[in-house]
Subunit: 275 residues, 2 copies
DNA sequence: TGTAAAAGTTCCATTATTTGGAACAAAGTT
DNA sequence: AACTTTGTTCCAAATAATGGAACTTTTACA
């Protein structure tokens, strides 16, 4: 199975870092410009983008013009650039057509009903986890509030859970691409710590995020194994430490694990028996 | 101001039609492949995409491989292709960083409080309107429920409102790019009908969608004029005909119009006095 | 199970696009 | 008004995309 197209959920490099991007091909270069703009807080001016891209002025100018032409970027009146509306359009379709999410949804609802806390569904993409769905309480969910967010694998429950199902080689490859960063005092600080924890997650089928990404927030997660070979994902229950104790989290572990198994089963049947 | 980059909200052609796309440059070609996949209901197989793209097999294969590499497409286990997760990530950033939306939000909330019906904010993109935000009742908003949706300008309140602020030349250009399609018996069926109605909207500052896109749904909308020259947009109050009478809609017109003016004012001040 | 047809993948000389440097134009500043 | 910064255009050289055909794998059917 040496297909070029089957890398699926492990696109390339740590996308979203703006640096560390192997910009192969015209598309790759264009995307790296998008990345630079996406990872900036404020809308950027031409020169600012230029500095972060190190490309000749003329080249960047044309690339940006192309991106604007496609609606992937917009120019503001003050000559700053931001991400374009077209992205919303595509994302809306991507979300609506995501079978994995659709199948998982009822199970997420069920898990939320039991725990009363926020349930997340995330998929592996490079060295990050992208949140694909979220079920939370009464509070009217602000769209995109978390959906679409990309977080590093090594400091999130879903991230660690998801990569625990990778083959040893893939895991190896992925881990060495990670750029570790200390978000909190609990953040795992390197490959050995991560691999050790993965080992344990493999055994238990349960991963914890012990305030490793954001202090005050912790979660229990379980991997959703790739039935047909392509989606590496996980599901989690998240809560603030002041309301959700560690014991409570441990108590939910079983439920989360079961939910993951149920989703796997549904994927197996509803996705049609093919390969 | 003959800048190449300033076409901003009128990117190119009727994006999303899969056909009628002037695929200039490598990026354009890649996007047209994305478009084909985005406008299909079901995930597509390679050959299916091939037919809709008329390109040589080898070429398409490589293009798809690139898109997959960038995370813009994903391959499913059964060799079907769907839009990639990376799009969610970008869209999430695009949405979070959209100043226009952020400024408009409180005004949308206020309008919703008065009317009790769903309030939409949409921006012009090509010959379509892309919904950028939505405020609705108690019902927990399913994300992406409408946000990111692209609807034709000629059959939506916001669409007609938004293009009513275009210069005569731009309007002319845009109208002839439109591919009219009868969604309901009330859908405007051609350029003359549309232009006539635009004329009226120009005078009143109010546009109606009289079940022109979906029967059973109608709305009042008002244009939000481009203060600094780039964003063509509109705001609307939408409701089902069984609950919201036409009279009620007309009664709200003034409020909608005022809301639009308030947003314009805020845009003028909060966007910083530049050009 | 065997065989044929369809679907998917690779290769490489040709062709077209992107590149990048420098010159040019327009804003913004002192 | 001169200067500095920022944004835009141009074109020969370098690079990447093209498309046809050959090749491999998968799927369908007898």
């Amino acid at each position: 199975m040496g297909s070029t197209l089957e890398q699926v959920s492990t696109p390339k490099s740590d996308s979203g870092d703006a640096s560390g991007r192997r910009d192969t091909g015209t598309l790759g270069k264009a995307m790296s410009v998008l990345d630079v703009i996406a990872s900036s807080e404020h809308p950027m001016r031409f020169t600012e983008i230029l500095e972060k891209c190190d490309q000749p002025r003329g080249t960047l100018h044309r690339q940006i013009a192309n991106l604007v032409e496609e609606g992937l970027l917009t120019v503001n009146h003050d000559h700053t650039y931001g991400l374009g509306l077209m992205l919303l359009r595509y994302a809306s379709k991507a979300w609506a057509g995501n079978h994995f999410r659709i199948i998982a949804e009822p199970h997420m609802q069920a898990l939320h009903a039991v725990t009363g806390e926020t349930v997340h569904l995330g998929m592996l993409s490079g060295t990050k986890v992208i949140y694909v769905d979220k079920v939370e309480g009464r509070q009217s969910v602000r769209m995109y509030s978390q959906i679409g967010n990309a977080s590093p694998v090594y400091c999130t429950g879903i991230g660690k859970a998801a990569i625990s199902t990778l083959s040893p080689e893939c895991l190896e490859d992925l881990v060495q691409k990670i750029d570790f960063h200390k978000f909190t005092t609990n953040t795992l600080s390197g490959p050995k710590a991560l691999l050790a924890e993965i080992e344990e997650i493999r055994r238990n089928g349960i991963a914890f995020d012990r305030e490793e990404h954001e202090s005050g927030i912790h979660c229990v997660a379980a991997p959703i194994k790739p039935i047909k070979g392509d989606t590496f994902a996980g599901i989690s229950v998240t809560g603030p430490v002041y309301r959700v104790s560690t014991e409570m989290l441990e108590q939910w572990a079983e439920q989360v694990h079961e939910t993951a198994l149920n989703i796997e089963e549904d994927l197996g049947t509803k996705l049609g028996p093919r390969a």
